[in-house]
Symmetry: C2
Subunit: 426 residues, 2 copies
Amino acid sequence: LGKSAELICVGTELLMGQIVNTHGQFIAQVLARHGVSHYHQAVVGDNLGRLTAAIRQALGRADMVILSGGLGPTQDDLTKEAVAAALGVPLRLRQDVWDGIVARFSRRGLEPTPNNRRQAELPEGAEPIPNPHGTAPGVLCELPPDGRRVIVCLPGPPNELRPMVRDFLEPYLDRWAGPERQVLMSRILKVCGVGESAVEHRIRDIMAEATNPTVAPYAKPGEVQLRLTARADSPAAAEALLAPLEAKLRERLDPHVFGVDDETLEGAVGALLRSSGRTLAVAESCTGGLLGGRLTEVAGASDYFLFGAVTYANAAKVAVLGVPESDILSHGAVSAEVARAMAAGARRVGGADIGLGVTGIAGPGGGSAGKPVGTVWLGLATPEGTWARHSLWPGLRADIRWRATQEALVWLRSYLLFGARAAEEG
Amino acid sequence: LGKSAELICVGTELLMGQIVNTHGQFIAQVLARHGVSHYHQAVVGDNLGRLTAAIRQALGRADMVILSGGLGPTQDDLTKEAVAAALGVPLRLRQDVWDGIVARFSRRGLEPTPNNRRQAELPEGAEPIPNPHGTAPGVLCELPPDGRRVIVCLPGPPNELRPMVRDFLEPYLDRWAGPERQVLMSRILKVCGVGESAVEHRIRDIMAEATNPTVAPYAKPGEVQLRLTARADSPAAAEALLAPLEAKLRERLDPHVFGVDDETLEGAVGALLRSSGRTLAVAESCTGGLLGGRLTEVAGASDYFLFGAVTYANAAKVAVLGVPESDILSHGAVSAEVARAMAAGARRVGGADIGLGVTGIAGPGGGSAGKPVGTVWLGLATPEGTWARHSLWPGLRADIRWRATQEALVWLRSYLLFGARAAEEG
């Protein structure tokens, strides 16, 4: 089964709930990617006895113990003391490390405090790991007799830990884990325009048969994610397992897969706009700019995104977008008529090929029996026609606003892929 | 020192790095609030042997062991088996729980599967904890001889765990922890318009003297947070410690403290607009709608937020906002002149008292030697005058866009509090 590693996150602030433990996820992903088994994580406060006990227990179960945090200069920072105590060795000042700390301070015109000397101490037999982004070096202890069992101490601040993982830990893991390791590779397929149960229904047989890679669905608001995970001897072998499964799922779910891994719906829509040479303008009411914000999160969005209007006040809907006042009076600001007029107005004012409008009631106030909180009308104005569609979303203000932007993008994607008939069908 | 509790989060998906462990922070905060000491957290996968060992170890250290996850119907869900194994008792089907599960399914016109029977099994001597939001009840084991040592199993999904913590665990902790406990209460003071080192300089003596409550600063982009933490016998006694420290810090940092705990800068600005009876319109370029999005995240924002224009294309700046084309040609779209004209245009078109404009280069492309990526010009148009200010922010596209909205809100807050002179000084 290859080698295994455990993570101990050190820090009272974690046990007080002051910060969320993001290192846990980050290190877990690194270990999976490098084929190192990972069965246990712990969080321990800045306490010498408890920390020493946790290190001893972890050494009894795993080939590598990774610690994060507790390398600072203060009396609270006890990670190296605990490692030394767990191994039964003393701490020793390393002159080369101390010289580096002094040089680092003097470059900024400062002198280290006596406390900083603690950061130059290492458990006997350990080696420092360079830290270009902070004062405290990391620590590598390769344990006797053969150095194959290892303790690694990483600094707590993410901007120091992450570069050290990239530059030191990942290459080290590659050598250390050896050829017997099993690489774990994941890929996320992102699906829109169809609910979780419908996705599961369509791919039920594939899910049941898939053992390596596995498929696990996860529902997010307005999106379903499918996680494919393969286990193999090498990244290339894992990739060779993932590719045919991805193709099978894409075929079954076509056209609802809009992206992979870090790809976003706004990025997918932007790519469709760009490749078809079309431009977009939006008009928003209840979403207040979030739809424009999502579309312009994509670098280079200025190539296709021309204009957005946040017409929160009805007067602005009339004055800026030319929404007929009579439509607002007879149908209300949240209506098919106004959504269509907003989309058409954005298209005209922005000089764009396509206009998209959003009007709704995000709450908590403003709802009525006929138009409860969560009611959203979308409008889509194109050269081939202008349409509206209705939704009713559950949840709080932020949920409803997010769903409204999500559904607007899903609808626009459908129009860009399949044209007027798809848009009309909603 | 009162009672102590440990948390064991169960789930292979945590050890694979597929999700971040938010339960760890949430439960830590609950324990701190109820005066229960918390020295250790663990994450263990869905493995009977390892899970049983982790429960035994935790029972050897703490008065209460809380487990989250692993209560589902599948063969992977082993938490109750592990609790039973750690205690040396069998699992027993509870007829009342099973009847409840059958009733829950039948309300939705469904029948439970044979697997669901596992969810009606409890370790001998345990009691179910009602779960109105899911099929799996929680589990409470009060251990012999006196029931003062306890195991609590909570469901993994946050929308089931959180209500169960609120409705069951928190009241239970209050009784169980007893009068000897020490309550830990925190409050976050949110500071804007002044950097972290300047904040620390201003309150250095207070930080050095404060032992209970303590003060710890934490820098976020465009914001400094000060965490005040008090330890006392009761919530009222903790509050009595926090209040004078908060007053002292507010006095020292006046007028930069804009909120407490969950309060937001957009909420603070909105409250100032509302209380002064003034209305706002915004014009955005590089932020693409995010500024409007933040302002309208506040419920009731329609009382003061009238209009936003996302004039990404220069043609829209001219056509919608009346920005002089000559300004764009001679100074560029990212300039003091255009920022002022955008603010003035938003104010006029939106019919608002105040106009706020943002134009900048969010990158990664579009920068030049004279105007590098991160350059942002803000404009503020008011009845007393129209001004512009310049910033240069480091970071990636999303960082720069966020900072631009943050600084726009900080500037607007300064104008709303202190009028034209403060706005002019930038």
